[in-house]
């Protein structure tokens, strides 16, 4: 109840009621993804990711140029399938895993730890929009990295394969499968990110699992339990290279080796079929998206 005040209150121009009616869930997800993608493009993590791809591309280009003419490299550059089957299949998986870790590892955990979630979640927006928007932004940023890697490979392909063979249909097919793998991997990464409120834990767990954890588990299951590891995402990864093969590998091969004391040991190797690969990747994508969102919906900003 002041009769005199040392500071005059300032009047904001007003419009008589709150402005705007919140758009639908999908529209809000798109809006958020646009700004999140912009944030990614300007971030150090984007520079880091592009640097990783650039270094991989530079090493690849150097090796191809240096050993050009040697028997090994000549074999790899003899056909577009041989070239991309070697360099694209393995390389793109690495690029996808790194971009998943870098763009998705802390996507959800960071909202809690960095408190950016407080800025977003006070708005009239469903958590599903935030989750989907961030997923789409991470997907777009990862796609840029994948396309950058593809551009480096295609440029090398143009040099060593010639104008008529540097962009085969099999590469388009493999690219499409790689995108499915990226969708599934990002879904898994977002699930792990939703599990933690700490960015470091989220990134570490995702990195350990996807860089070698799943591969080790897959190997152990095959060797010890002797079953097909159809439930491990890394098992489906090899499907990315199938378009470059003239014939698909046998689904299951068993080899028996005789030990020094006459003891034989049997080794079984599994290769996913196309259908299996698609089902595993699609399943991971859908199930991890549902589970991740379910967790995010229940996380509290304490």
């Amino acid at each position: 109840m002041s009769a005199a005040s040392s500071a005059n209150p300032v009047s904001l121009p007003t419009h008589g009621g709150s402005l705007g009616t919140a758009p639908g869930t999908a529209a809000q997800a798109l809006i958020l993804s646009r700004y999140q993608f912009r944030d990614y493009l300007r971030s150090r993590r984007f520079v880091l990711m592009m640097s990783i791809v650039a270094v991989i591309g530079a090493i690849l280009s150097f090796v191809l140029a240096y050993y050009h003419g040697s028997a090994t490299v000549s074999g790899l550059t003899s056909s577009s399938d041989a070239f991309y089957g070697s360099f694209w299949t393995e390389g793109v998986a690495i690029v996808i895993i790194f971009s998943g870790i870098i763009f998705g590892g802390d996507a959800i955990a960071g909202e809690f730890q960095n408190k950016t979630g407080y800025f977003l979640m006070g708005l009239p927006i469903r958590r599903a929009s935030v989750y989907a928007g961030k997923y789409m932004a991470a997907l777009a940023a990862s796609l840029v990295a994948v396309l950058f890697y593809l551009a480096i490979l295609v440029a090398n392909g143009a040099v060593y394969l010639g104008a008529g063979a540097f962009f085969p249909v099999s590469l388009v097919e493999s690219f499409a499968i790689a995108i499915l793998y990226l969708l599934a991997l990002l879904g898994s990464v977002f699930l792990f990110s939703s599990l933690f409120k700490n960015s470091l834990y989220a990134v570490l767990v995702v990195a350990v699992l996807f860089l070698f954890g799943f591969t080790i588990i897959e190997g152990l299951i095959t060797a010890l339990v002797k079953i097909e590891p159809w439930f491990i995402i890394s098992y489906a990864q090899s499907v990315i290279g199938y378009p470059f093969l003239s014939s698909l590998p046998a689904h299951m091969t068993t080899s028996t080796t005789m030990g020094p004391r006459g003891v034989s040991s049997t080794t079984t190797t599994y290769h996913p079929t196309y259908l299996e690969g698609f089902l595993i990747m699609g399943g991971y994508w859908v199930l991890t998206a549902i589970a991740g969102l379910w967790l995010f919906e229940r996380e509290e900003f304490t």
Partner: protein, 315 residues
Amino acid sequence: MSPSLEAVGLTKRFGSFTALDQLNLKVEGSKCVGFLGPNGAGKTTTLKMFTDLIFPTEGEAFINGVSVQKDRKRALEPCGDLIESPEIYGSLSPREALEMNGALRGMRSDEIRSRTATVLEEVKMSEWADQKVGRFSKGMKQRVNIASALLSDPEVVILDEPSTGLDPRGMSEVRNIVRGLKKEHRLIFMSSHILSEVVDVCDEVALLDRGKLLFYDTLANMSQRLGGGVRAVEAEFALPIDDGILTGRIASLPEVAAWSRSDPRRVTLQVRGGPTEQARLLEKLAAMQLGLLNYHESRSALEEVYLREITQGEA
């Protein structure tokens, strides 16, 4: 319909610890309500449930009659809020962050542009509008957060200790902004543990301690609780007031029950009666032409009520 916030049996437990215990509170109308309480009283917990950042163990929170827990999107539509000190994506500029906020709220482009300019001007961040938020100090970020809370010209404004992280000048500016927000058809609900902040800007006070609501009342009634009809006001003069004037002319006024002096230019007067007598006393002091600079209700009144209630709660 007038803007409103309502907590119905709102309870939050973290394990065996009860942060908020059966809060029943309805604030309604165009006013500024201070949500007071010591650290750990449950203020932020309450506001987080009003904005769906955390979920109640029991009960429900309503904004303009819409349940936050059942339909957060519709409930938060008329609401601008600032809870704790949010971070904004570091590579975005304040203008871009507010554009995103406006777009997510469904504001038109021209509304976003004009309101962005207005609120950034209001929080004195116009010249930083296109710089990256990641480079800002905590205080600058808090200003952008306040701008964000005001962007949609909301009917309900929820502020959780808005002057946190600001220097004394910034705190004063924030109070000025909150005072400026008072208008027809707007409810401001502001938590604070700074009594002077609440006295400066609020009309009503809800006092919370250890998860329980101790009372909710107007500032005027709260002062009445202290003195049983006697209010304290502080008068500041341009020049020292000598004892003769104080005892002879001021203390003899029928509205003055007692007086004390903290320094030669400031006098605390106990006023008999309510706001009418307080206003009459002001008129009389001004008419004496003693160089009255400032006249306001004594903050110590609220402080005493606050401390008394909190102490009783502890006992």
